[in-house]
Symmetry: C2
Subunit: 357 residues, 2 copies
C-alpha cells in the first residue's frame, strides 16, 4: 500500500486545486483515459474514454448497472451457480428476478442460460468465483452469440484477471463484444479494497443513462483519488506492483498445492490457474458444514462451496452443489507458513471426522 500512499501524497502536492472543484458524475477524463488504455493493453479490451464511468468499487458499479437494467425493462438476471456471494440479494433489491445458471469445468452453462427468461447475465469469466474455472473459448463464443440473438447484456466481473499463472492472461469478454458487454473492474483485488475505485466500460447506447444514474445516486467518486490512481498507473508503479503480487501469489499457490499433495494426497485441488483461491474437492460422503466446523475448531477459517449457491440466503437453496462437497481455500492474504499449518490442521480435522463417522 506504500504505492497508494505515494500516489495520493504526490497528487495532493502537485494537483492544481481548481480541478478539485470539478464534480464529474462520470469521473475524471484523465482516469477514464488511463483505465481504458490499461484495459486495452492488459485485457484486450475495446472501450473509448467516453464509454468509461468511474465508480466507487465493484459493488457500487454493480448496483448502478443492475438498477439501470431493471429500468430498461430487463426482468431476469442470470447468475453463476455457485457464484459470488450476495449477488442474488443485490439483484433482488434492484428488482430483478434471479435465474441460477449452473457452472461446470468450462464455466457458465450457456445452454441453460439460453433456456431461461434472463436477458442479462453476470459472469466471472477470467476465474470463476468460486470454482476457479476459466470460461472456455467455445462458451465465450456461445455467450456472445446468445447476447446478439436476444439483444442481451453480459455484465463481466473482471475478477482475478490480473493474476494468471500458467499462461498469458485471457482477454476480456468486453473486447469480444463491446456492444453487448458491460465490464466492471476495480482495484480492490490488485491494490486494496479500502481504495474504493472501479470502472464500468459501457456500450455506447447505455452511456447517457448510466451517467445520469451516477449523478442521481452519488455525483461521482472522490476526485483526488481518481487522479492518484491515474498517476499510479501512468508512473509504471501499478504494473510493477502487479508483477510483485503475481510472484507472491504464485509462491503461495505452489505452497498450497504442495501442502495439499503432502497432507491430503487423495483430494483434488482445482481452479488454480488464476487468482487467489482454489477449490478443495471433498469425498462425497463428507458434509461440508461438518468439515468447516471441524476446521474452525482448529482455527482454520474456510467456507464450504454451498455458501456460494444462488439463493443460499433464502430457505430453499442451501443444498450442496452438483459439483459435490468442496472447500473454498483463499491464499491471497495468508503467508506460506500459515498456509502449511492451515492445510495440516485441515488434514487432522478430516481424519478426526472420518474416525467418528
Amino acid at each position: 500500500m506504500s504505492d497508494w500512499a505515494w500516489a495520493l501524497a504526490d497528487t495532493a502536492r502537485t494537483m492544481p486545486s481548481a480541478q478539485l472543484g470539478d464534480d464529474l458524475d462520470a469521473g475524471s477524463l484523465r482516469l477514464r483515459e488511463v483505465v481504458t488504455s490499461y484495459h486495452r493493453r492488459l485485457r484486450a479490451g475495446c472501450a473509448a474514454p467516453d464509454n468509461a464511468i468511474i465508480v466507487g468499487g465493484f459493488r457500487h458499479g454493480l448496483n448502478i448497472v443492475l438498477g439501470a437494467l431493471a429500468r430498461r425493462g430487463i426482468t431476469h438476471l442470470g447468475l453463476e451457480d455457485p457464484g459470488p456471494r450476495e449477488h442474488d440479494v443485490i439483484a433482488g433489491r434492484a428488482g430483478l428476478g434471479v435465474v441460477a445458471v449452473p457452472v461446470d469445468d468450462h464455466g457458465l452453462d450457456v445452454a441453460r442460460l439460453r433456456a431461461s427468461p434472463a436477458r442479462a447475465v453476470l459472469v466471472t469469466p477470467a476465474h470463476q468465483c468460486p470454482t476457479g474455472a476459466l470460461l472456455s473459448s467455445q462458451r465465450r463464443r456461445d455467450l456472445v452469440a446468445w447476447a446478439q440473438e436476444v439483444d442481451g447484456v453480459i455484465v463481466e466481473d473482471d475478477y482475478d484477471a490480473e493474476f494468471r499463472y500458467d499462461r498469458q492472461p485471457v482477454g476480456s469478454l468486453q473486447g469480444l463484444a463491446p456492444e453487448h458487454v458491460i465490464a466492471l473492474g476495480s482495484v480492490s483485488k490488485t491494490l486494496a479494497p479500502a481504495i474504493k475505485i472501479g470502472w464500468m466500460l459501457v456500450p455506447p447506447p447505455l452511456v447517457t443513462q448510466l451517467r445520469q444514474d451516477m449523478r442521481l445516486t452519488s455525483r461521482g467518486v472522490p476526485v483526488l483519488d481518481q487522479f492518484a490512481l491515474a498517476a499510479l498507473i501512468e508512473s509504471g508503479r501499478f504494473d510493477r506492483h502487479l508483477r510483485r503480487m503475481r510472484t507472491l501469489y504464485a509462491t503461495r499457490r505452489a505452497t498450497l498445492s504442495a501442502a495439499v499433495e503432502a497432507a491430503l494426497p487423495k483430494l483434488r485441488l482445482t481452479g488454480l490457474a488464476a487468482g487467489c483461491h482454489a477449490l478443495l474437492r471433498l469425498p462425497d460422503d463428507l458434509r461440508e458444514a461438518a468439515v468447516v466446523a471441524a476446521a474452525q475448531r482448529r482455527s482454520v477459517r474456510v467456507r464450504g462451496l454451498s455458501d456460494y449457491r444462488v439463493g443460499v440466503g433464502s430457505a430453499g437453496n442451501a443444498a450442496a452443489s452438483p459439483l459435490g462437497p468442496a472447500l473454498v481455500l483463499g491464499f491471497g492474504n495468508v503467508n506460506e507458513s500459515r498456509i502449511r499449518r492451515g492445510v495440516d490442521a485441515l488434514a487432522k480435522a478430516l481424519t478426526e471426522l472420518n474416525a467418528t463417522s
Copy 2:
C-alpha cells in the same frame, strides 16, 4: 483546498498500511467519533459513533436512506416545495410516492405534511433550499410532534448550517429528536464537492439495516480519505477553514445586498440569514423564464424559483411558485466584482424586459 491536500498527504505518509486493509461498511470508527463530536459541538447534535455511518457525500446517503425507508414499508415521502432539485426524481426511483409540502417564510408547512399520507419527510431546516427560510422554533416543535405521533422519520439535510451570519448557528433537528431524525451531512459545501465524504446519523433501530445497505451497495467509502478528514477536523484546520469561508461569504453576501439595493431598489432580497444563495423576488407581472433568458443573454447564469418546484421534471408542475416569481442567486463561488457586474447586468435585463412588455 490546500487543507485537504495537506490532510491527505499527511495521512498517506503516517497511516499504518494495515488500516488500509480494513473494509468497514459503516466507515472508520475514528471518523465516526470525530464527526459525531463535531456535530455535537457545532450542531447541538446527539449521536453516538455507533449510530454514525460514513457515506460518499449527500446524494449517496440520501439514496441509501430512501431505499431503506421504502423497504421498511414507508410509501410516501414529503418534500419541501420549492425544494432541492431532483430529490423528487431520486425519491421516485427509490419507490416512494412524493408529496409536495409548501414552504413559507417559516419553512415547511407542517400542517400540510400532517394532512398527507407521508410518514417520512426530507427537510433543509437550517437554510431552506432555495428560499433561505429558517425552520422556525414552533415549526420544529410541530415537526417533531408529528414524527412522534405517526412514528415518522425526518430526514434532515443539514445544508448550509455552518454558514449563518446574523446569530449563533441554529441547532440540528437531530439533537431535538434523535429517535426520529436521520441527519445527513457532508463536506461538499464546507470543503469541496470533489471530496465526496458525508455521514448519516441514524436512530438506533435503523443502524443494522443501514449498515447492511452500505455493505450491499458499496462496502463503504475510501478509507484513507476518511482518515484524512478525521485528521483535518482534529487538527483544528477545518474550524479555521470554516471561519475563513464564513468571513469570505459574509463579504460576498454584503456585496450582493448592497448591489441589489443600488441597482434594483424596488426588489426584495430574502433568505440571506445563512448560506451562499438568496432569493430575489420579482414583480408579479414578470415571467421568470423571460428574466432568466434575458440574464443569460448578458452572460449571467441564474435559475428561476420554479426550477425548484417538486415535479418540475414531469409535465404537470412547472408552474410558478405561490411565493411569486423569483430568482435564486448563488454567491458562494463568485467574487465581489463579478457579483456587482452580475447584478448590474440583471438590472439592465429587467429594464429591457419592462420596456418591451
